[in-house]
Every structure is written in C-alpha cells, then in structure tokens.
Symmetry: C2
Subunit: 333 residues, 2 copies
C-alpha cells in the first residue's frame, strides 16, 4: 500500500490568530452556521469531557462537535486554573486541534490560549441578539465587567448598533474601564450604572456575564420588548437570573438543552419547578425549525453555556482566515 | 497585574518523537509508574470522550488522566477512520497535548500520529507480563499480526526474554512478516503457527491482538503456568477470549474496571454471568495494594483497554526525552 502525500500540519500562535480573527460579522456568521448545523440530522456533539483538579484549584474541559457540511472538526481543550492570577498568569488557557472530517488527519493546531473561545462565545451572544432581540435596540446593558462582558457588548453592537449602553459591576472602577473599552470599540455612549436595576430597566438588550451563584437579574425588572443573553453560567452552581424571570419570559432559548439543564440558568429554574418541558435551542431557531421572537413586546431570554459546535466553527473560520493570510508554520506530518 | 514570563510551547513531530522515544525499558517503566499512580488517592481519569462518525466510517476518542506526582497531564486525541487505507492513509492518527499540572498552560504538542499510543500500549503489555507472567518464560505467542501484535511481542521480550515465539494470524503471509520483524527485534526464534491453538499451547505468555468479535482463544487451551494479555478489545463489541477462559483463570486483572466492563474482555464474560465482582486493576497490583500471580502454576489474564494514565505518562516521558535531546521547535506563547 503506497501512502498518499498528506498535507503538512499548520501551527498557529495566539498572536497570529488574533491578527487573523477579529470579533466581526464574519465570526458571528461562522458561529451562526454552527448553531444551524447543530440542529441538522447527522450533527454530533458528545457530552463535555470535564476533569476537576481540586489540588490545583483547576479544571479542564474538552469540547467537540462534528457538523454536517463542515470539512473539519475541532477538539478544544480549555484548562481553567483559578490560582493562576496569583502567579501573574491568566486563569483560562487552552488550544484547539483541527482534524479532517473525512480522514481524521490532524490539519492544524491553534495555540490560541483561549482567544478563539472568547471570540466564539461573544459571537454566540450576537447570534442570539440577531435572532431574538427586538429589531430596534436603542440601549444595551451588561452586568459584569470582565473580558467576556466587554466582548459581548461589542459583538451585540455588530447586529444591533445601539446608541447607548450601561455597564454595571460590583467594582465601579472595573465597570468604568469596561465602559471605556466598549465605547471605544463601538462608538456608543456607554455609562456606568449605580445598580444592576438601573442598567437593566433602560435597555432592550441585557447581557449577564458575571460569575454569580445567586441571581443578579430579578424578575420584575424586565419590561416588555426586552432580550436577555445570559452567558455567565457555564459551570455547575452558577446562576445569574432569578428563576421567576425565566418562568415569566415569553420565550426561553438555550444553546444546548442537556448543558443548560446541568450548568445553565435552566438548572436553577427547573429546581424551582419552572420550564419542565424541552425549550427550543438557538440552532433550531436559526435553522427555521422553531420560532424565535414573535412580537416586538415579547421578553426573550437566551441561556448560553458554550458548545463544541461553536469551537468547530470558529476553528474552521480561523484556519481559513490564517491560510488566506499565509500565516502560521507548516510542519511535516 | 504583571504577567510572569511563561515558557514557550514545544512542538514535536512524529519523526522527532520516534527518534526520542524507542520501545525500551524506560518506556515500560514510565508506563508502569502511570499504573501505580492511577491506584493512588488523588488520581483522576474521566470517562473517555468518544464521538462516532458513521458517515466517515470513523470515530474519535479523547483520553486523559491527572496523576499525583506528575508535573503535567496529557490530553490525547485518537481519530480512527477505517476507510483511510483505501486512500493510502493510515486508519489511526492523532496527537497529544501536554499541560502543566500546576497552571494548566500548554507545555507541548506531540504530533505523533498515534506513535506514542503504540508505544504506551505495547509498554502496558510489558508491565502486565512483568507483574503477572511466570518468572521463567521460554516461549511466547501472539494471535494477530498487526503493528500492535508485533510491538507487544517486542515489549514482552524486554521483561521476559523468551527464546522462542509463535505468531498466528488469519493471513499466513502477514504472520510470516510479523514473525520476521519480531525475530529481528528480539533475536528470538519466531515461527508461524498453523492454528491459534498450536501457538497458545506451547507458550507461557500469550498475547491476543486481533480485532475479533468472536473468541480466538478458547478455554481449554490454557494449561497451568500461563499468562495471557488481551489487548485487542479496545472497542465495544470486540471479544478475543472465551468467557469460560476468564472464568477458569486463577486471576483476571484489567487496566480499568469501568473500561473493561464496557469494551474489554470483561464485557462478554459478565454477559455470560462470570466475574460479577470487582477484579483487581493492574495499577493496584503494581502499587502493592492487591496480589498478582501467587504461584508459578497459576493462569493469569490481563485485559487492557488503554488508559489516559498511560497517555499522560508516555507524554511526560517523551517530553523529557525530547528536551534532553534538544528536539522540537519552541514557539512563543
């Protein structure tokens, strides 16, 4: 048996990936395609492989998905080591490995240190806003001031170019920092809110991006015509939105029911006895299989836990962009 | 917060890894240490992440383990795409990613295309032989003639330097090829057997390394003083050894009970009503927590399905060897 010539393996560093993959509409479209593909027959997304490392105050998650119509699939490794900041290191890291969907051969290794996860997570918020937020959004708010809080606002602005925004966070100095960064990226007028309620009540889009384990968004705060994207609850035990708010919403949507029921907002809501039935997944709405927002006055909530489908899509997107730019180093197989 | 300087990421190709990591006693010792560590408190080995891709006649497995006393852990991705030979490509591929056990930072990417999996799998067979085979082994046999069948015999010879050996396989030409390769590597007199029974009945060590789904090794063939290592059953549905042989053995050992019960020889044996209790794991024997072979006349069977612990250990071993050799390319984080 002669061995066919095989293409080299492309290695890309974080710097190369940052240059090739900005947070833009192309990233949003790639992520949207992932959600649609996930709703199609033949898509496969196994449960997250998760390993707790309590001695190191750490954990590692591995996510993947095989999506019909994609030439490749990614396997993403996300370590989170929460004592790292004491060492001057980031808590979150990781890489993505890209494999041919036809042969299983390694095509590329994306040494992104978690950068592409940030992009695909923010892009998923934009997909949710595109399909679920009211058409007219004057004001958006974010609860939280971390990297993802900032990126979520910038991503939402790509699809709903709001003129004003609010940031609330427990630390006002960090909130001010985040507001300045979002304002600089979007050109919108972004201010710091004194309370979460002040931020929420003025806004058509509300993003929750905190590590909270008790609700920061209460049920009575959501007037008609609001959309909420919750993306802080990516771990067991987290909870940002009061279960009553989920119960009261006209539409609750999640990225993956099995994940949302285990570690998303859906978990606390179901523990409180709400939402016993199967909610729609975002991909089913993108694919036209289930309905999204029905009226401008509806209250919608999208619960994002982060899926391997997004990883496969952003990796394919990044690899195409890097190849087009001639970036990276090709190693012999 | 200032960022501490972080070490670069080392990228190693298959050629570099083949040069740095031969199948030798150092690889066997590294693998043995993995089994011992797996039996210690604090070891963690989550269930294998497995994704079937029937459209491509493929599958992907992800394995990992965190082992006390190891500075790093590996996450290994093993794609198996079984139509690849038609394309002139190998069925099995993959890579290992190595992470710091203290910070979760990526330390290295081992682009081994499955080479290190072959090494750690063969090395596990040698660990089993070291702890379970009779002290005096004149003759060893292997059923199967693939890469792993050959490497298992070569590895067993490292710990039990047999003078004679037998190879049986359905295809006599491939059996002859395997016999020549094993003879060349070990210096032993290796012959092709006409039947599996001929190979088995003459040998103190018997290795099964076939993809069979019906038993190739029957119960009545195992005279006193035999050790069998079964390493073909690494997938659901495979079965190399008659359940009655497992039931009749003085000692049945596996690498991981949860895996052996799902996809090892233990599965078929339990379906037949044998071995209902928890058998010892190889690591418990290496660590001195449970007994191995008690008499020279005992019949022992070791059922290997392949563990993430071996992957972590061989990756650490390979990384140390590559660093000592100055191999690989260091990329900026």
């Amino acid at each position: 048996m002669t061995q066919a010539p095989t293409p080299p393996i492309l290695i890309l560093t974080e710097a190369e990936l940052r240059a090739a993959v900005p947070l833009d509409l192309a990233a949003v479209d790639a992520t949207e395609a992932a959600f649609a593909a996930l709703a199609r027959p033949g898509a496969r997304m196994p449960p997250v492989l998760s390993m707790d490392l309590p001695e190191a105050n750490g954990e590692v998650d591995v996510k993947t998905a095989f999506l019909p119509g994609f030439d490749a699939f990614a396997i993403k490794v996300s370590p989170g080591f929460f004592d790292n900041p004491r060492l001057g290191l980031p808590s979150l890291n990781g890489l993505m490995c890209v494999f041919s969907a036809k042969t299983g051969l390694v095509e590329a290794v994306l040494l992104d240190n978690g950068y592409l996860t940030n992009i695909r997570t923010a892009a998923a918020g934009a997909v949710a806003a595109r399909w679920l937020a009211p058409e007219r959004v004057e004001t958006a708010a974010v609860l939280g001031a971390g990297v993802q809080a900032r990126m979520q606002m910038i991503a939402a602005h790509l699809v709903r170019p709001f003129a004003r925004g609010w940031v609330w966070a427990r630390d006002p100095a960090r909130a001010a920092e985040a507001a300045a960064e979002i304002a600089s990226a979007t050109g919108a007028d972004i201010r710091v809110a004194a309370t979460p309620q002040e931020a929420v009540s003025a806004s058509q889009i509300v993003i929750t991006a905190t590590p909270s384990t008790t609700p920061v968004l209460q049920a009575g705060w959501l007037a008609p015509g609001r959309h909420v994207t919750a993306m802080g609850s990516d771990q067991h035990g987290k909870n940002e939105i009061a279960p009553e708010a989920l119960a009261a919403a006209d539409l609750y949507v999640c990225d993956r029911v099995s994940q949302a029921a285990a570690m998303g907002e859906l978990r606390a809501a179901r523990e409180a006895g709400y939402l016993p039935g199967p909610p729609p997944e975002l991909g089913e709405i993108v694919a036209g299989l289930r309905s999204g927002r029905l009226t401008e006055a509806a209250v919608t909530i999208c619960d994002l836990t982060g899926t391997g489908a997004q990883d496969t899509a952003i990796a394919a997107h990044a690899l195409a962009a890097a190849r087009a730019a001639g970036a990276g180093m090709a190693l012999p197989r």
